[in-house]
């Protein structure tokens, strides 16, 4: 059964009103939901999948060795899913070991891919075979990063509606997982959502403005003064910078360098995912299908929403000389026991 929020969204309703009112208004607004009324050149989403029964998608990852391939990671609570493909050729499922739960994140290359999910699940893909490296914990793995040319994996996570109650940091080196304690300032923290590596230092973000910075042996709690959840961090190794997004209800975008954050920018919806292209343009995606493009000159554009699914992750790559942006998500943060996903793509080169 198609859930109600897709058949009766705010956007479809407003579009009805606008159809009536456009004749006298002579213009439309961001809520019009009618792509044909938008000015030429304004980026718009195309829906690749709106109710993907393979589940919600939480990560869109482009391996450095196959830049035209997009890995989508997600699934159902009891059945993780991975799809590989792109906007041109579509997406094909990649078979997973039986019993793999919902997967939240992936990082690595096509022959050295690590994925993490519920109940401490961590799997490794060498291009041919999956090997289980799961931790024996209730906490979910929300984020992981592969560094040192694939020799080190750092995973973070914490509580979920399926179990667990504390924020965790683990590293994997020489076939051994090692737990890293949180600084005293973050005592009681229940979640770290993502980890990024800027070439020298790790940035780990979590609930209620939690930010860790440093090496695995010396993680420092950064005083952010923020109370919103920090959900995703992406780092640029060349200049040790980081971009962080987060929030709930309203969102934030903040950059940082060398362990210090700049002044956050407040956004009108909570932001879960971010992707940046080679020119420094960024896509931010979040609640209720909200997305925003920031170009290098500081201008912003809000693509017309085509889903009320929460968008969890973003990605960008070039296929056949065309730059494609992606936003993926689903109904993960709902009461539904069965998840369904959204996959959106957009051509946009500022």
């Amino acid at each position: 059964m198609q859930p109600n929020y897709l058949s009766h969204t705010r956007f479809t309703h407003v579009s009805i009103f606008c159809l009536l009112s456009m004749a006298c208004r002579g213009s439309s607004n961001k809520d019009s939901g009618v792509a044909t009324t938008d000015p030429p050149g304004k980026p718009n989403w195309e829906s690749i999948a709106s109710t993907d029964q393979d589940g919600a998608w939480l990560r869109a990852h482009i391996p450095s060795d196959t830049p035209e391939e997009l890995w989508l990671v997600g699934g159902q609570p009891t059945a993780g899913s991975i799809k590989v493909g792109n906007a041109i050729k579509g997406f094909e499922p990649l078979e997973l070991p039986e019993g793999t739960p919902l997967l939240n994140w992936a990082d690595g290359t096509s022959t050295n891919m690590w994925v993490g999910g519920l109940y401490g699940s961590i799997l490794h893909w060498d291009g041919a075979v999956w090997v289980d490296y799961s931790l024996d914990i209730e906490e979910a793995i929300w984020g992981l990063v592969v560094v040192d040319n694939g020799a080190t994996v750092v995973a973070v996570g914490g509580s979920s509606r399926w179990g667990g109650d504390e924020g965790i940091v683990y590293s994997f080196q020489n076939d051994v997982w090692t737990s890293h304690p949180l600084p005293d300032e973050l005592d009681g923290l229940n979640n770290l959502f993502k980890v990024a590596f800027d070439g020298e230092q790790y940035w780990m973000v979590g609930t209620s403005g939690a930010l860790l910075y440093g090496t695995l042996d010396d993680l420092t709690a950064v005083p952010t003064g923020l109370t919103q959840d920090l959900i995703t961090a992406i780092a640029t190794p060349n200049d040790s910078t980081v971009q962080i997004v987060g929030g709930r209800g309203t969102g934030l975008y903040v950059t940082g360098q060398n362990g210090v954050l700049d002044t956050p920018t407040q956004l009108i919806a909570g932001i879960n995912g971010i992707a940046t292209d080679a020119s420094g343009n960024s896509l931010l995606v979040g609640e209720m299908g909200y997305s925003q493009l920031l170009n290098a000159t500081g201008q912003t554009v809000e693509p017309v929403p085509v889903t009320t699914h929460i968008l969890h992750a973003a990605a960008v790559h070039i296929v056949d000389d065309t730059q494609y942006w992606y936003a993926v998500g689903g109904n993960l943060a709902t009461a539904e026991s069965t998840f369904e996903g959204s996959i959106l793509s957009m051509e946009w080169t500022p």
Binding site: C24, T250, I268, A333
Partner: protein, 773 residues
Amino acid sequence: MIWVLFSCRTDTSVEPKVEDMIVADIFVEHLGDPIPTLRSELIEHYENGSSVMSRGFTPNTGLGPTFNADSCAGCHQMPVAGGSAPRYRDFWLIQEERWDGALVAAGTNGLSPVRNEYATAPIFHIPPSPDATTYARRNTPPMFGVGLFAFVSDQDILDFADPDDADGDGISGRANYEKGEVAKFGYKSQAASLESFNRGAIFNQMGITSDPLFYEFPELEVQGWNWQLSLLNTADAQVSALDEPTVDNDGVPDPEINNEDQRDLLVFSTYIGVPTPTPLSERSKESIKGERQFSEVGCAGCHIPSIPSVIGALPAYTDLLLHDMGEALADGIKVGFAQGNEFRTQPLWGVGLHPPYLHDGRADTLIEAIEWHGGEAEGSIDRWLALTEEEQSGIIDFLGDLGSIPNKQNFLNDTRFSTPIFGDVGGPSRQLSSTEQATFERGLQLFDGNFVEEGGLSPMFNADSCRACHQDPVIGGAGGLDVNILRIGGMDANSVSFNLALPVLMRSTLPFEKPAEILELIDEEWTQESLQTAWSDGSLIIEARQPPSLLGIGAIETISTETILAGADPDDSDEDGISGRVRWLNDGQLGRMGWKAQIATVSDFVADALLQEIGVTIHPSLSDFTIEDDLDTCEDPEFQTEDVTDLTFFVYELAPPKSEPDSESVLFEAVGCAGCHTPTLDSVSLYSDLLLHDMGYDPATVVDHDPGVLPTEFRTAPLWGVNDTAPYMHDGSAETLFEAILHHGGEAERSVAAFANLTSIEQEELILFLEKL
């Protein structure tokens, strides 16, 4: 029906006048009714939503683990479910400073423990935590018409925004957002959808968990286009707000409100009608002039007379935008884009119905509320202060005419609120003469009206009206768990027993379950010493007390002393295991009211409640249960004798609950219930002998309320109307009649054993009998 079509606002040359656009069919004669044009398919949902509003949740149905109220109507109570609340329902938003300087919400469920700064015990005053840095008091706003803001588009709100004050009028105004949509609901305009707002309120205030609403309205599928369907569409859109399920780990499976009830609550919230404004033909010339001056002064800069919506212009007198209200009103709370000094422009339709005013209820009157405005309103306030008293009065008259009442302050003078008559539940016990009926009506108004400081409220109080604790199922009835009184007692350092009557909060969202935590919050030295002594020697007792129903209390006074004495058997001379002792009071009267039979007459009951719960004194000649001077700034006696007389008349004349006639139960007799719950005394069918009985409680758990009464002794509670007065027992510890029976002990042990030996069918039969009393 006048639905005014959507207009084109981009071409000002053809823009119709606002008054031509006003949507008419949103006003109701009877508050609490839905807008008159509500589609018939939604009526049933609305009515169920209304009942959900008034549903008293219990711990077994999900209430808690901590809570500030046990029903939506507990706060949205006046003058009907969906209304506002007086100050005793205020709560606090509390923030603490974190290690890195960030302010984070404190309390339970993230934000909002109840704190009553006027409470009868200092421990309930701020601060609850030495680390707390921000306290923001909140008074319950009314819901009338608020749901219609769902029909206001984002762009229509943004059209009024002027965040940089580009027009230089000193008024900016900016939108708040939630999940990418312009937010419309809440004092800080923090919620974009009613679903979001409702789910937050029931979780934070009652501990009721819910799932996001995924209900389909199959019967409401859109088949075409008209304005009524647009109502449905937009309401449906409210359902689309996504959020996560709430969970509270209180042992009751989540969600604790099902999707259907939540949907109907949403329907109720969306379509509750707007108070009818006074027709132009009935308005005074002062009011009409006041309307003009309202605009000239600049009030209409934010309180814009009407805001466009898809159902027509809503005359709500709000722009739904955030404005800087100045430092005097700033509360430091940041929500979304709203800063500590910013608040959403409050709607003014029906404003006269719901004092006190402003987000924290600090203003008793509209004039006070106006003069608290600052920030962007400074220019308007300067112009307001320059008006003559007569001109100011005209503006107040105008505001009163926005769906309010003739005298602008006391809604009960409004003829739209009918007084119950003989035969009604909550009506008088007999056919009253017209003079008596008028007195009864005035007494009801006094019972229902809110006291303010100028009227004697304080120095401390647990409630600011009689109704506050006696409103279930009608005014004069019982109170829920959320208005329990907390008694704390024990032996002090001099081995003298003491007990304190404190306002409820035993299960509130403050962590007051543990005595040690209470002790930490005591800020009166003598009290602290006494309680610490009691705590350290193990004698400290904390006990809740449930407000009983007053229906029929006057009939109890009519029962003769001899009749009550005839039932007493203090030495159990008949060896039936049931004794029963008369409570003689110091003045020689026979106590027959109260959990401990500590009061003999209705007039003493009224005097005691006025003083102890509201802090109001009466003339000492009227009762020994008052005092000459309560040390507040209001001259004593604070309640005039005529008022006391009328209030007492109302309480005295409250008819007993109606019982269904088949009230013969062999089981009731056979089990032994009738041994204490005597069916009739002097033809009064109250099911009580009005005597004290040992209930078998552990003395260490019961506060010794009065000398001469054992801690374990309680007056037999009347059972008439018992089905409408849950929870049960003196401390509200029994949610159901079944539980209440099993909570009996002492002299009732044999009866409880007999009840336990009944078959389940027989037990159900007995419960059914009780329900019909």
